[in-house]
Every structure is written in C-alpha cells, then in structure tokens.
C-alpha cells in the first residue's frame, strides 16, 4: 500500500490536469517566482516560527489552489522524503549533543526546521509542475533564452514522468498477482524483487523513447530556430497579488528572523520557547 501511495503521489506531482482553480490559472512565471521565493526563504530563514509561518502560507496556497485530494496525495508522497531528511538530520546532529553544542530542544528545533525547509521546496516544486502545462514551462524557459530544441525534449520528459509512473503501477500490479512480494524477505530478496519491477520498466521506457525520438526527427524538430506560439498566457491581477503576497511574506519573515522586527521577541516573551 505504501508503494502504491508513493507511486500515485509522484504521478500526481508531475501530471498537469487543468482544473478551474487558482493555481492552475496563475501564470507559470508567478509559480516559478513562488518556487524561487521558497528557495530563498529556506536559505534565509533559520528560526522555527518563521519557517513554520512560511510552511503554513504555502500549504494554504496549495490547499486552496488545487483539489484537496490531489494536494493530500502530493503532500503525503513528499512527507515520506521529509521523514528521511529528518532522520538524516538526527543522525548528523546527535553527536553534537555529547559535545554540548546542542541540547535536546535545539536538536528538535533543528530537525523540525530542516524537515519544513525540505517540505516547502518539494511542495512548491510539485505545485509548479502539477499545475502548469508543460508547454507553458517551455514557453517560459524560451523567454529566458534557452533553445527550443532542448526545451521540447525537456517538456516531453516532464510529461513522460507521469507515463513512467503509470507503467510502474501496472508492472507492480502484474508482478504482485504473479506472487512477487517486494515487502518481505531478506535484503537481497527485496533487491531481486525490485529488479523484477525495474527491468520491464526500463525496457518499456527505452522502447518508448526510441519511438519518441523517431517521431521528433520525423517532424523536423529543431529545423527552425524561431518559433511562434498559438497562444500566450497573460500576467493578470491574481498573479500580481499572489507574487506580491509571497514576496512581502518572505521579506517580512526575514526581518522577523533577523530580529529587525520585534515580533520574534514577542513570541519568545510569551513563553513559546520551543518555537
């Protein structure tokens, strides 16, 4: 069940199904801005409460901007990685307890901050890919100056991730009904079981890629350097509001984090020392 949920989560993160929701209607530039702002926020913010506020803001955007079930699936698949990141943080930080550099509260804070940071980056990345049409991604990158000959295969590979996950799910189902058990047995048995899932996946993928390359060559990809687009996405009022809210939020949280704004002190004074 865990593997099935994980496959479904990854697929959800990369397949764009257009819905009449806020995030789907935003310009891809706005969403990439949110992603970049998130990366900046995770670099700049170090206090528990500031990163927590940013995480809540991002979750609110995801929760209101896309279907609840889809958001839940994406979040759950990210949480699996968050747990891994937090575990590595614990392994890395535990030796510092003995040297006295950290106490248990600091350790918990640090692990929590690392988990939140990873969750935010992965979530904003998933939001971007799952709510943006692949052609909008390539259109945006072309504006930056990247050649279309490389961008088209890039958008194809993004679309292809969903297909690969579909194939993987089918292979997993077929092999399970053939008695394959990937969740039991010793380490080497499990590796062998996973090979039975990955070998057909790799063979199918190579086969598909071969067809894809033939089709692209056949249709003359890259013959002309300049391209025109049938339609271009506009930058509307919603885009300005969302981008502005997140920009202001990052700046404000940074100022609070650096104790330029006194809200952080206020929180500490209130006795919320764990934050």
């Amino acid at each position: 069940m865990l593997i099935k949920g994980f496959i479904s989560g990854i697929r959800e993160a990369f397949i764009c199904r257009f819905e009449e929701r806020l995030l789907y209607r935003l310009n891809s530039l706005t969403k990439i801005t949110i992603f970049l702002l998130t990366v900046i926020a995770t670099i700049l913010l170090s206090k528990t409460y500031t990163i927590l506020v940013y995480t809540i803001a991002l979750v609110t955007l995801g929760f209101t901007g896309m279907e609840t079930s889809r958001f839940k699936r994406i979040s759950l698949s990210i949480l699996l990685f968050v747990v891994i990141i937090m575990s590595f943080s614990i392994i890395y930080l535990v030796p510092r307890l003995s040297t006295g550099e950290l106490d248990y509260i600091d350790l918990l804070k640090q692990v929590f901050v690392n988990g939140c940071k990873f969750y935010c980056i992965a979530l904003s990345f998933s939001i971007y890919f799952s709510t943006t049409k692949p052609q909008s991604i390539s259109c945006l990158l072309e504006k930056i100056g990247l050649p279309y000959k490389f961008l088209y295969p890039l958008t194809l590979s993004i679309r292809y991730l969903g297909v690969v996950m579909n194939d993987f799910e089918n292979i997993y189902d077929v092999q399970r009904i053939r008695g394959l058990r990937v969740d039991s047995g010793g380490f080497f048995n499990r590796i062998r079981s996973f090979l039975s899932l990955f070998i057909p996946l790799i063979v199918l993928s190579i086969d598909r890629l071969n067809d894809m390359v033939l089709a692209l060559e056949n249709r003359g990809l890259g013959l002309y350097k300049k391209r025109t687009y049938f339609y271009r996405e506009g930058f509307g009022f919603k885009d300005i509001v969302v981008a502005a809210v997140f920009s202001i939020l990052v700046v404000a949280l940074y100022l609070i984090d650096q104790a330029v704004l006194p809200i952080g002190c206020f929180i500490n004074l209130k006795g919320l020392s764990l934050l």
């Binding site: 079930s69 009904i177 086969d207």
Partner: protein
C-alpha cells in the same frame, strides 16, 4: 459463510477512484469453467472489475469472493494461486533473463515444487510452441510470441481462473487467429476465463459466451452474446458495433421475426438458414 460453488462472486460491490469514477452496487456470479466477457467502451470499468477480481483493488463496500476467498481478507500471495492474470501489454510481465525463467516465475514465487513447475513449463511451452525459445530472452520475442509467453506464464502454476485484459489489442489477423485457437483450447481445458474487451467481433468468434456489458461502472446487460445482438439500444448506447454477419441477421430477423436465426452465430449457420428459408425470405422482401 464462504461459498465455494462459484469461481468468482461479486456481492454488492462499491469502488471509487479519486478521479471520480465509481463502481456502484455490482453483483454477479461466475461459475467454474464458465467463459465471461466484459464488454464496454473505454472507461466503462472493465479493467477495474478485473483488478477487483485479482485482488489488486479492494472494494470500498461489499465483498468479492475468488474461489471462495474474500479478497478483502486474503493476501495476494494466496489469491495468486488461483489466478492467472494477462495484462493488456504482455511486456509489463517480462523481467527474467530467459523464456523458461519467465514461464516459471509465478510458480517459483509461490514456492511450488521444482519438479512440478519444470514438468508444467515443458508441457505448456510445447503446447504453445515455445519449446525452441526456452533459452532466449523474452524481449527478443515477437508480439504474438510475447502473448503466448504471457499465457504460458499465467497458467504454469495451474490456476483456476484466467483473467485477460484486452487480449486482442496490437494483434494482426494471423496473431488474433492463433490467439483465439489458444483461448478456445484454454476454455476446453476447463479454466474459468474472464475477458475484458471492447472487441465485440472477438466475442462472436469465441462462440456465444456469457457477456456482461458495462457502462460507467454499472452492469447494463448480462446474458448470452446472441441475446445481446437483439438489444439494439444497449449496443448503440455503449458504442458496440456488432459484426457484419450479426447486422445481416438483425435485418433478416426484422423481416422474418424468426428468433431461431440467433441460435448459432456463424457464417455457415446463416448460409444454411438462408438456403432453407429462401422462399419465405423472397416473399418477405417481395422479389
């Protein structure tokens, strides 16, 4: 109380995907040795029903029994003993270095005795014409050979039920003909065969099996193929275009009102019918 009289039993089954597609209150029974074809357009729920039978999907409400085992409570490793599943693309199955290892894959996973599956593999490979390919890699096989290998690996562990998902897709005329022969052979050997397809022509060539027509996750028809052809509204609603021979039968039926025309759906029988009723049909047409 677990009923072992039926190979498969759906008891008021409810299932839903997150995409919104639902199976609602589905009930049917399939006896041992029975051949059942699930017909329907794309997205009607055929593959979902097969996956529910295989235990790959679990009902949200209701019960699915396979060989008397409740799929909700029985692990897949037990259900796998009773089921041979052949997916739409046989390439989803192949993961072993040789055809022999591929054929014996399920038996090895289920921990069956080596001498049993070795004997079975040789017997089935010779039946399906794969003996001379036992040392080859499965990925070097043609589409038709791959289908036969998929069948071989699905039946080597001697299951009771064979599930086939869209078995005729990507097969040419010769491939279909050979596949049909194998399938009829499987039916003769007493396997319970469940097929999900939208290929109504293929259903006719299987004789007149039981057909269950699905539309949007609901059963809209459950009966013999020959009876289905008289249900024009169901055929039209589900985008099922009957083969030309059946359309001709329908025209003759509209003229003669003689139900015996539907007894056997074959060209030979139709010719025989026309020859015997030549005079009567001429009168009806008015020439």
């Amino acid at each position: 109380m677990v009923s072992r009289e039926n190979a498969i039993e759906f008891k008021n089954v409810f299932f839903n995907y997150s995409s919104g597609f639902k199976i609602e209150d589905m009930s049917f029974k399939i006896g041992y040795g029975e051949v059942v074809v699930f017909l329907g357009a794309n997205g009607s729920g055929k593959t979902t029903v097969l996956k529910l039978i295989a235990g790959l999907l679990k009902p949200v409400k209701g019960r699915v029994f396979v060989a008397g085992y409740d799929t909700l409570e029985t692990p897949l490793s037990i259900l796998a003993r009773f089921i041979g599943y052949i997916p739409q693309s046989p390439w989803y199955m192949f993961s072993q270095e040789t055809v022999y290892k591929e054929i014996t894959f399920t038996s090895r996973n289920l921990g069956l005795p080596e001498d049993f599956y070795k004997r079975q593999a040789l017997y089935i490979a010779s039946w399906l014409g794969l003996v001379d390919k036992m040392d080859r890699t499965p990925f070097s096989l043609s589409e038709g050979e791959a289908r036969r290998l998929a069948i071989a690996s699905a039946v080597t562990h001697n299951p009771k039920i064979i599930l086939l998902d869209e078995p005729t897709s990507a097969l040419d005329y010769i491939g279909r003909k050979k596949f049909l022969e194998i399938l009829n052979d499987l039916i003769d050997r007493g396997y319970t065969v469940v097929i999900a397809t939208h290929d109504i022509d293929f259903t006719v060539k299987l004789g007149s099996p039981r057909v269950i027509v699905l539309n949007n996750g609901r059963i809209v028809f459950d009966g013999r193929t020959s009876d289905l052809y008289r249900e024009q509204a169901i055929l039209e609603d589900n985008n099922l275009i009957p083969p030309q021979i059946t359309r001709l039968m329908n025209i003759i039926y509209s003229l003669s009102n003689d139900e015996s025309i539907y007894c056997e759906l074959s060209i030979e029988n139709l010719i025989e019918y026309i020859v015997f009723n030549k005079k009567f049909l001429r009168e009806k047409i008015g020439c």
